[in-house]
């Protein structure tokens, strides 16, 4: 390839760009109640559709099937069963856990939906679908889903 400005180098340039972001997200009225109950009472709440009676965890303001507004809250025991999981081995910035760790979907007793969270106090090579689990809450809670530290096998 010929160029007519030979005095400017064609040497490959590697660009490094640092991108900053500072997202601010409101979890809304439904999310606020859900997180406050975890923070203040160590209670995981579901919300029940008045039409189809499904209980959603995490809660949402409207049933995605019936489109009805939901307002009936249901306190759950926090215990449930593992329905799926994966092992995260590759570290990325801003992960809340050090790899390797297990990340699962837990069907809480009394809920009709699965809830994703970390699995702890488990042998990563011996996790089984269907194992009974219970939440372990952090001592210092701030109104975040991470106030639940992880789910561990029920004793």
């Amino acid at each position: 390839m010929s160029h007519n400005i030979p005095e400017i180098s064609e040497e490959p340039v590697i660009a490094e760009v640092v991108s900053h972001s500072n997202f601010q997200v409101s979890v809304g009225a439904t999310g606020t109640k859900f997180l406050k109950e975890i923070r203040d009472n160590k209670t995981i709440m579901g919300i029940k559709c008045p039409s189809c009676k499904k209980v959603y965890v995490p809660p949402r303001s409207h049933c995605p099937i019936c489109f009805d507004r939901m307002s009936e809250w249901v306190a759950l025991s926090g215990k449930g069963s593992l329905t799926s999981y994966t092992i995260v081995r590759y570290p990325e910035p801003y992960m809340p856990k050090k790899t390797p760790y297990a990340y699962g979907i837990i069907q809480l007793d009394g809920a009709d939906t699965g809830m994703a969270h970390f699995l702890g106090e488990v042998d990563l090579d011996k996790i089984e679908i269907g194992v009974r689990l219970e939440p372990v809450f952090k001592e210092e809670r701030e109104g975040s889903i991470l106030d639940i530290d992880y789910f561990k096998p029920s004793s």
């Binding site: 400005i5 660009a15 490094e16 900053h20």
Partner: protein
């Protein structure tokens, strides 16, 4: 247990401050970056109609033909369009909201290519389409081969 949802004065919000480093090869555009470091604006030229393109492209987007000729676009150009942001906007270089005093402009360079930049004139009333502008560069030791090596464009009296 069931409770009715009531108005709660507390709303939980989260902030997610993030700082991510992207490293990428500029490839064909390396010559453009090397030109910026030397205070020169280079564009690729289409062999069919002579249109110059910034940022440079290896293939003309209109004629789909390889562009092999580079053209120095000079240091001056004419104002094509301008707009000013009148409220604080996010700055991805710092992660903070900031006020943007300088209008963002499109300039048609002496060599025919168009590019974006900042204008040193902060009063939008004084910006006229077609007015002559000149590139004001960062000091050579601060240039990194990026578009913001050009600090801004300043009006030139004719």
């Amino acid at each position: 247990m069931s409770t009715e949802q009531t108005q709660d004065p507390e709303f939980i919000q989260f902030r997610y401050p993030r700082e991510l480093l992207y490293t990428h090869a500029l490839g064909y555009q390396s010559k453009f970056a090397n030109g910026l470091k030397q205070g020169r604006i280079l564009a690729t030229k289409c062999p069919v109609d002579g249109r110059c393109t910034i940022p440079p492209r290896i293939v003309c987007p209109f004629h789909h033909i390889k562009q092999t000729e580079w053209v120095d676009q000079g240091q001056r150009g004419r104002l094509v369009s301008a707009f000013k942001i009148n409220f604080p906007m996010f700055n991805s270089r710092t992660g903070e909201l900031q006020n943007w005093e300088n209008p963002i402009i499109a300039v048609e360079l002496e060599g025919g290519a168009r590019m974006d930049g900042w204008c040193s004139e902060t009063d939008p009333e004084k910006l006229k389409t077609g007015m002559l502008l000149e590139a004001v560069w960062r000091p050579p030791e601060e240039r990194q081969g990026r578009a913001d090596d050009i600090l801004h464009w300043s009006p030139v009296e004719e």
